[in-house]
Symmetry: C2
Subunit: 212 residues, 2 copies
């Protein structure tokens, strides 16, 4: 079950809320980037960044110089992952909507200092964006590791919203001579584009070619 | 030219920054949703939502009951729009990256009360997600308009970051027998899915069928 704190109890569109922890894992595990929200000098700041999940912990990484991770000790963050699945075209402007799956996680970002957890966290972030690459390419050097900040965020306080399916129109609008339905948004991988500096004879490995 | 306040002057990856206002318009005009950051009780909150642009003003809408827009008068917000274009697969884990185009806008959200500007703002938000629909379906009723909050955000304080092209690896890694390049992420529209309640004989109009 997902938590039901004041922040994660949905005020509106309750029917779109999910309290199934597997829905949370699913939204996170099928995503590529998140939007990380922090408060800097009292103002909100939202930056896109990578993430990875191990069990009920989310890991984020960044340059040690990045403002968004420079909270100094623990800092309150909000991490949002959104999949946009389609545009819901209703019979009235008011009922236009989108089909989506989104997760919002609130909590304190904990700087990860333990070397083993740091490496595991970085691996999770890397494999989320580029599965199979951690064991395929050159691993991080000591210097590269030192330049990378890793923070952890518990998935304790999270909410999931999902909207699927056809528009919901006003009763009296169903008779209008207007097409209604969903225009699906499809995301797919293109053909791998080799680095112009790649020597001839090196083909992309299966984990890149066959990525789902 | 884009502004160069402390918040929008890039600290890192300066070579990815753009100061061309047309890049800002381009990132915004080709996006579908943004991530809106606000501060609620001192904590960051990031929610996905629609938006629309008219000149140098961004419009957002929401239910009048939504926490994210309930700032009460003007409130500081951050709006981020991100396009993820591909995964940059380098010869080392450290230089893995993503190709992307993102815009971050900071400012005070101004509640829009003037009826004409409200309607124009709502039209912009609607046309961004579902172009052509405003003139095709039933327009908003007075009651529906009253239930919708519209806020405006100036594009004065904005930054744009763009990364394109091949990985940048360490000199000594170029000799590794490792494939490197970009795995492009492609977003496209699927075939329109009619509402099961749609009467027979109503076909999708051209602006839906031929959407780019």
């Amino acid at each position: 079950m997902l938590s039901t704190t004041a922040r994660t109890t949905l005020g509106r569109s309750k029917e779109r809320g999910s309290t199934d922890r597997n829905d949370l894992y699913d939204v996170l595990d099928t995503g590529l980037i998140c939007h990380l929200g922090v408060v800097v000098n009292g103002h909100p700041m939202v930056v896109p960044t990578g993430y990875g999940r191990i069990g009920d912990t989310l890991y984020l990484h960044g340059s040690t110089g990045a403002t968004s991770l420079r909270g100094g000790g623990e800092s309150e963050v909000c991490v949002t992952v959104t999949h946009l699945d389609g545009i819901v075209l209703a019979r009235s402007i008011f009922h236009h909507s989108v089909n989506y799956r989104s997760a919002i996680i609130y909590g304190r970002a904990r700087p990860v200092t333990d070397p083993e957890e740091r490496l595991a966290g970085l691996r999770a972030v890397s494999e989320q964006l580029a599965p199979g690459q951690w064991d395929y390419v050159r691993p991080p050097s000591r210097k590269e590791l030192a330049a990378t900040a890793v923070v952890a965020l518990s998935l304790e306080e999270a909410s999931v919203k999902i909207r699927r399916g056809a528009p919901k129109d006003e009763e009296e609008d169903y008779g209008l001579p207007v097409w209604a339905g969903v225009l699906p948004l499809v995301t797919s991988w293109g053909a791998p584009e080799p680095d112009p500096l790649l020597p001839e004879g090196i083909d992309p490995p299966v984990h890149i070619l066959r990525r789902e």
